[in-house]
Point group: C2
Chain length 412, copies 2
């Protein structure tokens, strides 16, 4: 007798239910209030299944239902014409929250984000560009996080935390391998943060989280091939290809900032010379514009403003960095053939100030076929792409298996 099939089928039906619960929750998390009838068609499930799944998620306190009034019906993508009234399913934004943390070289942002992706409260701290000890940073984050979580309503909870770092993170265990601009090497940030916060913590590379946010709900929705360039002190890429994130063997893919573009050029902190970020990064801009190092985004904006005031050194500095931004972007276009390149951080400022220079360099160095359809755009989330992506990371376990996560939360 062959028992394999019935057993496999039993397991499969339980998996299917968990998968469907996650799919429904993810749908309202990403798309907002959605009518039951629309969920039926979007998830390709029948009406009674959608009703059962919604009931379970309502019972778990993750979504709520409201009768689909005219305004809700429009928001939910309904036609507004007669027929049966349909309930609208909404994420419990205030009740279900996550902590998003963006550790930058010259900033630290910590936010409470609701299910559905809204930033509900945040704290931002400016840093001078200098090395910072990981454990000091964690203590700062802990202090700020406790403030933010103290504001939670009594029936609300925080499902976990996601943190973005401007460096390489090992996919297997979240070990932060290198954050050159902060002086961090092989630091167990996730583990130390989890102890500090008493929450599950997932750590990701800032550019990887930037492209995640822009792909899920930003400038690259419905684009399967996207590159997000995180340009602060360095330049890193987060990539979606054929609709899936580029990860690499250990999680380090996308280090485009260290492509050698100018051999024998300026020494890079990575030990090589002439890396892309040594020519197109902020520090090169400051040096050519005759300004002090480490000024961060505010100083980039000052250089851009100075061009308008007739500052020739500032103009030359912008031209230099914009040309190199274009040359490097051409390389990104040749390598990934993306539909969209999102210029994040300081790169958005450079592009806004000198788009024709950037475009001319792309034209010159990119092959014709991959550049025919590519669009260069600023991020939909401005400077917050990585922060919003960190929240997505924090919500991921809940969205993947809502009931398992809920039972973990009730047990703790």
């Amino acid at each position: 007798m062959d028992l394999a099939t019935p057993r496999a089928r039993g397991a499969r039906s339980e998996d299917v239910r968990r998968g469907n619960l996650g799919a429904l929750l993810r749908h309202v998390h990403v798309h907002g209030p959605t009518s039951r009838s629309r969920l039926t068609s979007e998830l390709a499930l029948n009406r009674s299944t959608i009703g059962d799944l919604t009931g379970e998620l309502v019972g778990a306190g993750l979504v709520r239902e409201e009768p689909g009034g005219p305004s809700n019906r429009l928001a939910a993508g309904g036609t507004g014409t007669g027929g049966r009234p349909s309930y609208v399913v909404l994420p419990e934004t205030e009740r279900v929250q996550a902590l998003a943390i963006d550790i930058g070289v010259t900033h630290l942002s910590v936010a409470r984000v609701g299910l559905g992706g809204q930033v509900l409260a945040r704290r931002d701290i400016d840093h001078r560009r200098t090395t910072r000890r990981m454990r000091d940073e964690v203590r700062t984050i802990g202090k700020v996080a406790r403030e933010l979580l103290g504001e939670l309503a009594p029936n609300a909870f925080c499902t976990g935390a996601g943190a973005a770092v401007p460096g390489m993170v090992r996919a297997r265990d979240g070990m932060v391998r290198q954050v050159p601009n902060l002086g961090w090497t092989d630091v167990p940030l996730g583990q130390v943060l989890a102890e500090e916060l008493g929450l599950p913590v997932t750590v990701g590379n800032d550019a990887d989280l930037g492209v995640l946010a822009e792909h899920v709900r930003g400038a690259a929705v419905d684009c399967d091939d996207v590159v997000y360039l995180a340009g602060h002190s360095g330049i890193g890429a987060g990539v979606f290809t054929s609709g899936r994130p580029l990860v690499g063997n250990d999680g380090y893919a996308g280090e485009v900032g260290h492509l050698v573009v100018n051999p024998g050029g300026i020494e890079c902190h990575c030990g090589s010379r002439g890396c892309w970020e040594t020519e197109a990064g902020e520090e090169r801009l400051f040096e050519l514009a005759g300004r002090p190092a480490g000024g961060g985004l505010a100083a980039v904006r000052e250089v851009v403003a100075a061009v308008g005031d007739g500052d020739a050194a500032a103009a030359a500095a912008i031209r230099h960095v914009a040309t190199w931004l274009g040359t490097g972007t051409a390389g990104v276009v040749n390598v990934f053939n993306p539909e969209v390149v999102i210029l994040g951080g300081a790169l958005a400022e450079i592009y806004a100030a000198a788009a024709p220079t950037v475009q001319a360099a792309v034209e010159e160095a990119a092959l014709r076929p991959p550049r025919e359809h590519v669009r260069l755009v600023p991020p939909a989330f401005g400077l917050d792409s990585s922060l919003v992506g960190a929240a997505e990371l924090a919500f991921a376990p809940l969205l993947s298996d809502p009931l398992l996560e809920m039972s973990r939360l009730t047990a703790s």
Copy 2:
């Protein structure tokens, strides 16, 4: 009444059967003779289903069965211990064939490949490096293909043809957009070849097909993150990331040869300057070694041999090209974080002649985390990776839906 579920289920069970037939056929195509008991565990299906599927494929003439004798049992991965005798399922290699075509800058290879991936017969033609008209090339291929197909046994058939080209191919329709080294722009190669051969033809980029072959049955089996560098006159990359091919928005991803590595350097045929292939490609080697242009792989081997004879110019030329090969490979390592980089074509010769020089340049320009575990290896298929990959392309429709393909073949 909700009819959606039963109808969807009905469609799904037919899809499942087609998917299972394809999966079984693909398994013996990739892994060779396999016992029924092993297929049962590998495909996670029960014994009677495997029996039914095998019966259908035997009936269609795509596989045959043999009793699992001791030697077959070993080949099939069996334990050799007692129990029921298990049948071994083999691909009908002689009966089911495809045509593989590799169009190179200095060569043309056409082969008959059997189901299971063996090259059964082939013709190779050397070309001088010069532009060739696409329609002349197609006529040559047609002549050679008719010779090869004339040798087929009466009960054998050719399921289709796959062709590799050293240029950019639009994924949507197979249009060959640019093959700079042959002087081709926007040529409908697949369509013209299909008319010439009277067979379905699929066209792919040579590096994309190289990595496909090495991933399926070569130097990168079980590696999810692989870069194959096709180094002939130019340099192109075929990439697998997280176990799936890197395609890009239109199919052009992987043009690493046109990353600018030496700004203001040598003019490239692409219109830019200082592209990687202008420094690490064959022509640069010939120029520095004081040899005529366009010699292809044979001339690369002559330069390598001349180093052994004390030719200082040859030694300097190899050093130059090997250093640039390492610098560019470091970029590939930084961008893709691959487990394996396969150095194809002339690059394998350069690496064999000057591995320490290549490795030193990789060490210098690659970041530590992504280079910790990366391996640089020659291709398992030598110069035939793209040819073997072209056969995989030709077999793909049959493997995806064996019975549909068989009914198409019987109808025609």
